[in-house]
Symmetry: C2
Subunit: 368 residues, 2 copies
């Protein structure tokens, strides 16, 4: 072990853990995972502690680790609190507690004067009716916790849909969010370490289809210096308020009135996958640096333009991808299933024309 080497325990064993490990081994780190099965994307990339193995498997990961991190904002806060008594967990409990609940998240946006959609927490048909009267339609009803890739959401176009909406996802705590008119969806990935260093990647532009991120352009086109600084200011406030250590991602809407926060994730993010080849330091390496108490790396792009295309549901003609220049394949070793993220393709280009021509060649991987 070198002076900078640590044993990193990851709660989860999916593609994020896999890419954290691939980025972390070159720094001399060792990895362990707490997951479900030996078929998961991270299973071969370190010590695998399965939930099913025995009741001690989580403790075994904790015993192995110098520092613990997690793949998902849906990680149990109580578990993290308990682990924290013996082993540091980054990002910390507060980051997890706030980001796993849309109401708390919006509350923090308000507190820090970061613009976001108007919202109401509802827990009954009656409170939903009241909220719709206040917020108006169109509005989006969401579960306050869990829900990703468009799951657990209902778009209320008319007041007459209230019953239907409550039947569809109600019976639990929900949040009604006012509809935000936006030109496009952006996101920003930022990193903070325990020494209070902050670094920010450029804003990127994200295109979703059926609730799932399909591709990212990095940096987002036509973003003024001012808008980038605005986004960085929001991130700085959030990182500091959360005392966040690790990567934090904020999804934003670009509107005629400026940036409006949508939601945040206390982790490496799909919209940051382009950084593997696209930036001087990837989001994965910077997350590992941050949680291991190391200096953060440069977030500079390595070329004028980069992009990321998700491989969704079917693996598709990946062999063709290998015949193309300036294109990098990242498979997660997952079985095909509708809507599932199986991998992604990173692209680099000197200009928009070159990028567009790569997109054309990769049209099999884009939504029809």
């Amino acid at each position: 072990m070198t002076p900078i080497s640590k044993r990193v325990g990851v709660l989860g064993a999916g593609q994020l853990g896999r890419m954290l490990a691939i980025a972390g081994y070159p720094l001399g780190q060792k990895f362990g995972f707490y997951g479900m099965s030996d078929d998961e994307p991270s299973a071969l990339l370190g010590h695998m502690h399965k939930q099913s193995d025995d009741t001690d498997s989580l403790q075994k990961l904790v015993d192995f680790a110098d520092v613990i991190t997690y793949e998902s904002e849906n990680t149990d806060v109580e578990t993290v609190r308990k682990i924290s008594q013996t082993t540091p967990v980054y990002p910390g409990e507060k980051s997890l507690f706030v980001t796993q609940h849309r109401g708390r998240e919006k509350g923090m946006f308000d507190q820090l004067e970061i613009p976001c959609a108007s919202y109401r927490i509802v827990d009954s048909l009656e409170s939903l009716q009241l909220a719709v009267d206040e917020i108006g339609v169109p509005a989006i009803l969401k579960t306050t916790t869990e829900g990703y890739d468009g799951k657990g959401q209902f778009v209320l176009k008319e007041k007459e849909q209230i019953d239907e909406a409550w039947k569809s996802i109600g019976g639990r705590e929900l949040i009604l969010e006012g509809f935000v008119e936006f030109h496009r969806e952006l996101s920003i990935v930022a990193v903070r370490n325990a020494n209070n260093e902050h670094v920010y990647y450029p804003l990127v532009q994200n295109v979703h289809h059926e609730g799932i991120l399909r591709y990212t352009i990095a940096p987002a086109r036509e973003v003024s210096e001012e808008i980038q600084q605005q986004a960085e200011l929001y991130m700085q406030k959030l990182l500091d308020e959360l005392d966040h250590v690790g990567v934090l991602t904020l999804e934003l809407f670009e509107t005629t009135d400026g940036l409006v926060a949508n939601e945040m994730a206390p982790r490496v993010h799909n919209s940051g996958h382009w950084t593997i080849e696209g930036a001087l330091t990837s989001q994965f390496e910077n997350h590992i640096r941050a949680i291991c108490g190391l200096p953060l790396g440069s977030t500079e792009p390595r070329q004028p333009l980069a992009a990321m295309i998700n491989i969704i549901g079917e693996t598709g003609p990946v062999e063709k991808v290998l015949t193309m220049d300036n294109v990098f394949l990242h498979l997660y070793d997952k079985a095909e299933r509708k809507g599932r993220k199986l991998g992604h393709i990173n692209l680099i280009a000197d200009d928009e024309e070159s990028l567009f021509s790569l997109f054309k060649e990769l049209s099999d991987f884009l939504p029809k």
Copy 2:
């Protein structure tokens, strides 16, 4: 498993296996290793089959693997021959047989009309005396097999040293090589897959100290198009003659009479480590592509200049490396030991001045 995924078994579990795995997982490949201990650099990066486990551990690796490769040209040919009866081994037996013996290697250079030093195989004091009479001094006496990083060599400056030389490394088959006057040491990494695709990285310049590679500049400065083509022609002949599948590396001397072959290795090579961030496709990824029957990736550099500095013996001030831009750390998770390769640092630069200033900042890692 995707259509391009294979299970790769590696004979050896050192840093080369480690970097092959880090490059191969994103293509959806799985890895297994046949090694000595759980402390080896690859041990956490796939299924580890230890020689000490039981007599079946090699067979277990073979049973796991769709294809087998190896880390070292000193791999036992008989073992490879046996494995080949059930599972493809790349590079094949011929590549291994020729490259693990300096006499056979030189024989192939002669056969393919690739210039190399004059040489004689000797197996006794008498035949050594005869060889020195024919080749003259200075000359270098080497073991025909094994020997790396300057081990198993004796520089004969005067004829009077014959006894001393034989005592020092004799009592086994040796090769006496004529001394080549050279300006500098170059090397070229090339790749061939089973579909007979060939790709070549640019010639790089290598600087050794006490027999160990200390740094590489890529591409080598002031190499004419003609010299690059000459090197590629030599590689093409060697790849085809060996029916080689995978990476092949050739070390060359640049002399006033042109390129002179020194030795070759049937594997990814220390002088190709710069390709991880420096080229569109790394030597490690291209080796995996080649042995898995996939199309080869572009060998184009991603920037005007790159370099690699080895971390030898002591880990040194690696935390400082993390504070520098355009610099990438690669540690192998090995304990410190004199002369041991513990990791390397990759550098990228737009021009010689920038590269030089990075070298200055990293002088702790360079020979005094």
